[in-house]
Amino acid sequence: MLIDLSTPGGAVLGLLPELALTAWALVILLVIAWRHTTVADTRLVGQLSIVGYVLAAGAAGWLGLQGAHAEGLNLMIALDGFRFVSDILLLWIGAAVTVISLRWLERQGMLAPEYYVLLMLATVGMMLLAGAADMITLFLGLEVMSISVYVLAGYDRSRRASAEAALKYFLIGAFASGFLLYGIALTYGAAGQFIFSLIGGQLAATPPTLMAKLGMGLLLVGFAFKVAAVPFHAWAPDVYEGAPTPVTAFMASGVKAAAFLALARILAEVFPAFVELWRPVVGGLAIATILVGNLTALAQTSLKRMLAYSAIAHAGYLLLAIWAQSDSGTAAVLIYLLAYGLTTVAAFGILASIERTGTETVRLADLEGLYSTRPLAATGLSVCMLSLLGFPGTFGFIGKWLLLSSALSQGEWLLPLVAMIGSGISIGYYLPVVLAMVMKPAPNPTAHDTIRFPRPATVAIACCVFVILVLGFWPNPVLNFASRQAVQLRHTAVVIAPR
């Protein structure tokens, strides 16, 4: 289906997923206007918001199936398989986080239905960020996402840690946005264009100027902040630990995924000419991130904090595929984000249910003996840990293998070596979780009596775990699909502007 993005009708069609979700969010705001007092109201809003995700995913799927592509250039927003897949991935994460929040908010005494609207708006921002074909859209998406997530991080107003997380995230986020904006400005100064493919063509046609290099460097720094790559990671553990657990799941999977998808697109479409320049930087970031993330995670006793450092380490693995800058690398980014998203949402979902009302965090010791009282929850969390570890038989392994494969296919051995060393270190903190749950006895018989698994969350988590296992043994459908979409990204990237 050919879409002319320069006409109003074409623009509406091209933005259909984002518009659908935004419109639904506004409708829900109207609902909230007269239903915002009771537990039932919060629950109703949560349930209603899921419809929005379904609508938007339907729109993205429909555009993808129609083979929507732009007439001429992608103006402002990309029309390719990569964007539609990204949309569906991000919408799925938004919906899953909504489901695990459903009863959790009420248990924690947070009765403000705007939470769900913020989640939806953040998802819109993520979709714009991942689908941007233009620097302005990119920045717009980033800000819509970030501002919503700042509020979400501080949503638990009764806890100081939550407020601290929000403030920290806001300050660092503003800082990162500054870097990114400077990067955009300098790149514009060098190329005279905002549209990705035109900048790419311009930069390829002219010798690299200092201004363009600086622009790229600042953009990379901005993204490194957002994905929490070392040395720009220091905010992540505090924010992840302080934020409400479902929000942490959202940040660790959704925000990170959106930033990585955008980074993959920018490096492929805007800076393919500078590949020799940014590769060492990305490679260095990857090595530092993998090692620091994994080593620091070893020392954590709080599970949320441990998963925060593990999220940093996973960002390092993902940088491997970005580094590869190939079709297989882009496919690996998609697959890994899917695997990581599924696992993270499931793991945080289980942690959220284990959390006692009012306590700051779940410690490793709190999990002891979980298997004897809650065998299914313990099994689910064990599968998540193994998937994060990249153990064969789980989808995480398929992702890890693709990452390694994409770097190795370029004849690079150092990065995969570091990644595997990191993976070897990571068994030191994933395995104790399994050990505590399954092999240690409960400290007292009533230790796990406060655990409540609400039905919607249970269903969502069970589905995630099931999918992790099934795709671990039969990944063919998603592998082939991701490979096809990844190729599309590269094909739009080679457009050279007449100048």
């Binding site: 193994l386 390694l404 051995w413 070596l417 068994i427 395995l431 050990l435 399954v438 592998l479």
Partner: protein, 518 residues
């Protein structure tokens, strides 16, 4: 027999059925009441045994290549297939696995009295993993099975082990997982290298082996990654420290599976993958000397350490390190005799060490101790157990007429041409092993009956006899008439030696090996 097997299409389905049946047992265990879980496991084990034994006849000893080969795409777009098949080397490993399985279930019959369902499920999963490792002809598939095995073993040690089990289980998993992490890089790298050279991107074992020349520039690194993974599993000397802990803390079934099968996965890996892929580097003078020297250090060092162990199970664990050293020496001897010897030691060690662990488990069930000092003079109260233990001891130290002798003898004569001095040192370990095994047997079963607690321990019951008698018969059979086994492995071994021997450096020694070509 062959006509019958052919008529039911045995060769076409046997390997898949062997893999799948234990997995089918898992839901069955969930469905029956807890007290019947062990019956289901036993039933599955016996079905596996009956079906698996058919391989003994169906396998064609005259064909040195891979038999019962299946090749269907699995993750087809990425060159990964469900590729399985066996040759004489893997045949013996598969048979060893199916034979130990019912014995292990029997041996755990009364020892495992809690969480039975989980235990037998893990045993069945473990069996599928082991068989998968031995029959995989696709490196990706092999890696999956290799790693998947860790999970059931981890829980078997960690949940049903003795006091220090958590430490032992964690150590076991960390050692093996970290050891094989680099193997994954190596496998993927090989796929890309061979793919770029030939245009066919595939993880198939035969494809990679046929084009192994393309990988030679990276031989040292790739071999190193494989060797690390396998050396940890064997375990070769400096990587062996996980083994005494894991063996000692594991429940009897876990120790037996570890000794009989899991350790052999390491040596099997060297024979199947590491050396055939990179013979030039693996068998070069330096690498060969280092590996053979490590093997011999392991043989002697472990024997010396075993001598001073107060814990009977730990003693046997160290003796495993020593025996596996013989296997490694035989593999690096690279003559038909030495590799055949290595094969025989692998099987013999499975039988005799398996039997020793079973008997230690039986003693532990009766007395809840494994300290040698707590026993003494048991032959008076448990004559059958004492007899069985003595026979197994003799088998383990390599008395002629029992199974240990054939293998060690073949290894020593086969490796002599290449490593005369190392062989001379290794031969002393035969004396040491006699020391520690006989001495411990004496202290446990003979000597003076001092500890009154040992009065009522009772002799073997029917179930325990059913575990031990097949093993002891096997020891005698292998010791007196090893021909049928040697005949089945010879084709594959000869083919292996012919494949790697062009890469061997010329031997120092002017003597030719016994019975080999001039």
């Amino acid at each position: 027999m062959n006509a019958f097997l052919d008529s039911i299409g045995y060769g076409h389905w046997i390997l898949h059925v062997l893999l799948v049946i234990p997995l089918l047992g898992i839901p069955a265990i969930f469905l029956v009441p807890v007290r019947n879980a062990r019956w289901v496991a036993l039933g599955v084990a016996l079905v596996e045994l009956v079906l698996g034994l058919g391989l003994w006849w169906a396998f064609d000893p005259a064909n040195p290549g891979l038999q019962f080969v299946t090749d269907v795409p699995w993750i087809g777009g990425f060159g990964i297939g469900y590729r399985v098949g066996i040759d004489g080397i893997s045949l013996m490993m598969v048979l060893l696995s199916v034979v130990t399985m019912p014995l292990v279930v029997w041996g755990s019959w009364s020892a495992i009295d809690q969480k039975q369902r989980g235990f037998y499920i893990l045993l069945l999963a473990l069996k599928t993993g082991m068989l998968g490792v031995f029959i995989s002809l696709d490196l990706f598939l092999f890696y999956m099975f290799w790693e998947l095995l860790l999970i059931p073993m981890y829980f078997v040690i960690g949940m049903w082990g003795s006091s220090n089990r958590l430490y032992a289980a964690t150590k076991f998993v960390i050692y093996t997982f970290v050891g094989s992490a680099l193997m994954l890089i190596s496998i993927v790298w090989m796929m890309w290298t061979v793919g770029k050279a030939t245009g066919e991107y595939s993880f198939a074992y035969t494809h990679l082996l046929a084009n192994a020349k393309a990988m030679q520039p990276y031989g040292p690194y790739l071999f190193g990654a494989f060797a690390l993974a396998f050396a940890v599993k064997v375990p070769l000397f400096p990587f062996h420290t996980w083994l005494p802990d894991a063996h000692t803390e594991a429940p009897t079934a876990g120790s037996v599976e570890l000794a009989a099968i899991l350790l052999k996965m390491g040596t099997y890996g060297f024979l199947r993958f590491a050396i055939p892929f990179f013979p030039v580097f693996a068998l070069s003078k330096t690498t060969g000397n280092v590996m053979a020297a490590l093997a011999v250090i392991g043989i002697v060092y472990a024997a010396l350490v075993a001598m001073v162990q107060p814990d009977l199970k730990r003693l046997v664990a160290y003796s495993s390190v020593s025996h596996l050293g013989f296997v490694m020496l035989g593999i690096w001897g690279s003559t038909v005799e030495s590799v055949q010897g290595a094969m025989v030691v692998m099987i013999a060690h499975g039988l005799s060490t398996g039997a020793l662990f079973f008997m230690i488990g039986m003693l532990y069930e009766r007395r809840h101790t494994r300290k040698i000092a707590d026993f003494g003079g048991l032959a008076r109260v448990a004559p059958m157990l004492a007899t069985a233990f003595a026979i197994t001891t003799f088998a383990s130290i390599g008395l002629p007429g029992l199974n240990g002798f054939i293998g060690e003898f073949l290894v020593l004569i086969g490796s002599f041409t290449r490593y005369p001095w190392l062989v001379a040192v290794a031969a002393t370990a035969v004396v040491f092993s006699a020391c520690y095994m006989l001495w411990s047997t004496q202290r446990v079963f003979f000597n003076r009956f001092t500890n009154p607690l040992n009065e009522g321990i009772g002799d073997l019951n029917v179930r325990e006899l059913a575990v031990l008698v097949p093993l002891i018969l096997g020891m005698f059979w292998m010791g007196l008439y090893p021909g049928p086994i040697l005949r089945r492995t010879e084709g594959a071994v000869r083919r292996y030696v012919e494949m790697v021997s062009p890469s061997l450096p010329p031997s120092d020694s002017t003597r030719s090996s016994f019975g080999a070509q001039p």
